[in-house]
């Protein structure tokens, strides 16, 4: 078994560019380098052609029409544009926004900023499986509510929210519905019509496209959504996002969407197979390991496991030929363990021991077997080193102990 090291299994963070995507992009760096807004010469037309073809490819992936796709620099910008744009445009209608606690920071911190400007934000809790409770959502809606923003799938635990159900509620109540679709679009079927989604954020680099490009789907009818722009300038993108288009990035993003759509039936099955294989290999060899979040409502390529009594960063150090990530505080800049796991009710002790595996298009079965073997061996070694494991094996109840905290 010869696997090439290091192994990349952190595909929720980013993905490599698919060679077919790169190939589609290349002419737009050199021959077709024009500004897509140059309306009076061949160079501009070629660039515009590339951009408009990509717009169709992106729209098709999510069941939208091309005119509803607004290009951005990435999902952070898309989330900002959707939330701030609706906030400013519909301020007179109401000042209440509903989101959930496990959203990405690009949504949470955007909502926090709006709070400074007089908006009221409800942060819905999630259940043990990571999903929002629809009754909580219904109860939170007031006559002042103008926006519900809920992610399609979570970036840490891969849990998929009941988007169609939330969309139906939003429609019934006449509230706009924005979805951060970064982790879901291209991985599982996303249909903005069926799901009653009014705005959807996407990113190129999560789906084997380039970094620095994203899109926001903005519904044009039933209802028509208007957004106040964040960037002022040349009035590109129907006035919602000024700035010269990143033509190469957009072309690559479009191609990436097309490939995801074509490959999804087979790729999602393959991902699920690899993910389940990884899970089974780990669970059959180790005790006291726990999956974080629902296994039923989950992206096919995500696995998030807490390895009790083994701190996450020391795990990463032990499996340093494998790229994964951890919810441990030690791996974050804030020294706080994952707020997502906390929201699920995972104790901080277990949050510190969590590892996220993000499988991708280019992972193989051999790699999965190698990763499982390395993980098992490292957990065993670190448990030999762990006073907590020793105490638990002696029958002590660690939760009942008094610790000398600082």
């Amino acid at each position: 078994m010869a696997v090439k090291l290091p192994i990349y299994m952190d595909n929720h963070a980013t993905t490599p560019v698919d060679p077919r995507v790169l190939e589609a992009m290349l002419p737009f760096f050199t021959e077709k380098f024009g500004n897509a807004a140059s309306r009076n010469h061949e160079f501009g037309w070629k660039a515009e052609e590339g951009v408009e073809h990509a717009r169709e490819q992106v729209a098709r992936l999510i069941g939208a029409t091309p005119k509803e796709i607004i290009w951005t620099s990435g999902a952070t910008e898309s989330n900002n544009l959707a939330i701030k744009g609706v906030g400013e445009m519909y301020r007179e209608k109401g000042n209440h926004i509903i989101t959930e606690v496990t959203e990405h920071k690009a949504v949470l911190d955007t909502c926090k900023r709006l709070e400074k400007y007089g908006f009221v934000v409800t942060y819905l809790p999630v259940q043990k499986d990571g999903r929002v409770d629809l009754d909580d959502l219904r109860r939170a809606i007031t006559p002042k509510t103008i926006l519900i923003t809920i992610m399609y799938a979570n970036n840490e635990i891969g849990v998929v929210q009941p988007i169609a159900e939330i969309g139906a509620i939003a429609k019934e109540k006449g509230v706009f519905f924005h979805v951060d679709g970064v982790q879901a679009a291209g991985k599982i079927p996303v249909d903005v019509i069926k799901d009653n989604v009014d705005m959807l954020s996407m990113s190129g680099h999560k789906i084997y496209g380039p970094k620095g490009v994203g899109a926001l789907y903005v519904r044009r009818r039933n209802p028509r959504v208007q957004l106040a722009a964040i960037l002022d300038g040349g009035g590109h993108e129907r006035g919602m996002r000024s700035g010269t288009l990143n033509v190469t990035g957009i072309v690559g993003f479009g191609k990436a969407c097309e490939l995801c759509q074509e490959g999804m039936p087979t790729e999602s099955v393959r991902m699920r197979g690899l993910r389940d294989r990884l899970k089974d290999l780990i669970f059959s060899q180790l005790d006291e390991v726990f999956v974080n979040g629902s296994m039923t409502h989950r992206l096919p390529n995500n696995l998030n496991i807490s390895f009790a009594y083994v701190e996450g960063e020391s795990m990463l150090m032990g499996i340093n030929d494998i790229a994964v990530s951890s919810g441990s505080a030690c791996t974050s800049a804030t020294l706080e363990p994952s707020y997502v796991l906390k929201a699920l009710g995972v104790g901080e002790d277990l949050a510190h021991t969590s590892i996220r595996f993000g499988l991708g298009r280019f992972n193989t079965e051999e790699e999965v077997d190698y990763v499982a073997a390395r993980v098992v061996e490292t957990v065993r070694r670190l448990r030999e080193l762990s006073p907590l494991y020793e105490m638990a094996k002696e029958g002590m109840d660690l939760s009942k102990m008094t610790w000398n905290t600082h």
């Binding site: 009594y309 083994v310 701190e311 996450g312 960063e313 020391s314 150090m317 032990g318 441990s328 505080a329 030690c330 020294l335 363990p337 104790g347 901080e348 002790d349 510190h352 030999e384 080193l385 762990s386 006073p387 907590l388 494991y389 020793e390 002590m396 660690l398 009942k400 102990m401 008094t402 610790w403 000398n404 905290t405 600082h406």
Partner: protein, 141 residues
């Protein structure tokens, strides 16, 4: 984060991993940190009652690589020292030796605390020598 060579070395080859009998009156046990904080160190020393020399030291640590390295280093350093000498080890010495970055200084503080807690436990045992030895690992309720 890039680790110093010494941290990597201690992580890959931790010194003095294991446990001593915590009920032995000549053994002091220090258990510091908390699982919720992501760091727990258990440091144990066997101390010669005559000479007050630390004859053996063992550790087990739940924590990041720097925490493991700090406690591993602590066992190396206390071995052969007297109790008084061991108490003079400062966390800054550990920071310097392992080239810990600022964000990992708390690991060295924990290691210093563990040394002090282990010696404190040993002293307590030996001033209450008449009482039957009970399970007295620091931190246990």
């Amino acid at each position: 984060m890039a680790y110093s060579d010494k941290v990597v070395d201690h992580y890959n080859h931790p010194r003095n991993v294991g446990s001593l009998d915590k009920n032995d009156p000549t053994v002091g046990t220090g258990l510091v940190g908390a699982p919720e904080c992501g760091d727990v160190m258990k440091l144990q020393m066997k101390i010669n009652p005559e000479t007050q020399v630390i004859e053996e030291a063992k550790f087990k640590t739940f924590g990041c690589g720097s925490a493991i390295a700090s406690s591993s280093l602590a066992t190396e350093w206390v071995k052969g020292k007297t109790v008084e000498e061991a108490l003079s080890i400062k966390n800054t010495d550990i920071v310097r030796e392992l080239a810990l970055p600022p964000v990992k200084i708390h690991c060295s503080v924990l290691a210093e605390d563990a040394i002090k807690a282990a010696i404190g436990d040993w002293k307590r045992k030996n001033t209450e020598a008449e009482k039957p030895a009970t399970s007295s690992a620091a931190g246990q309720s």
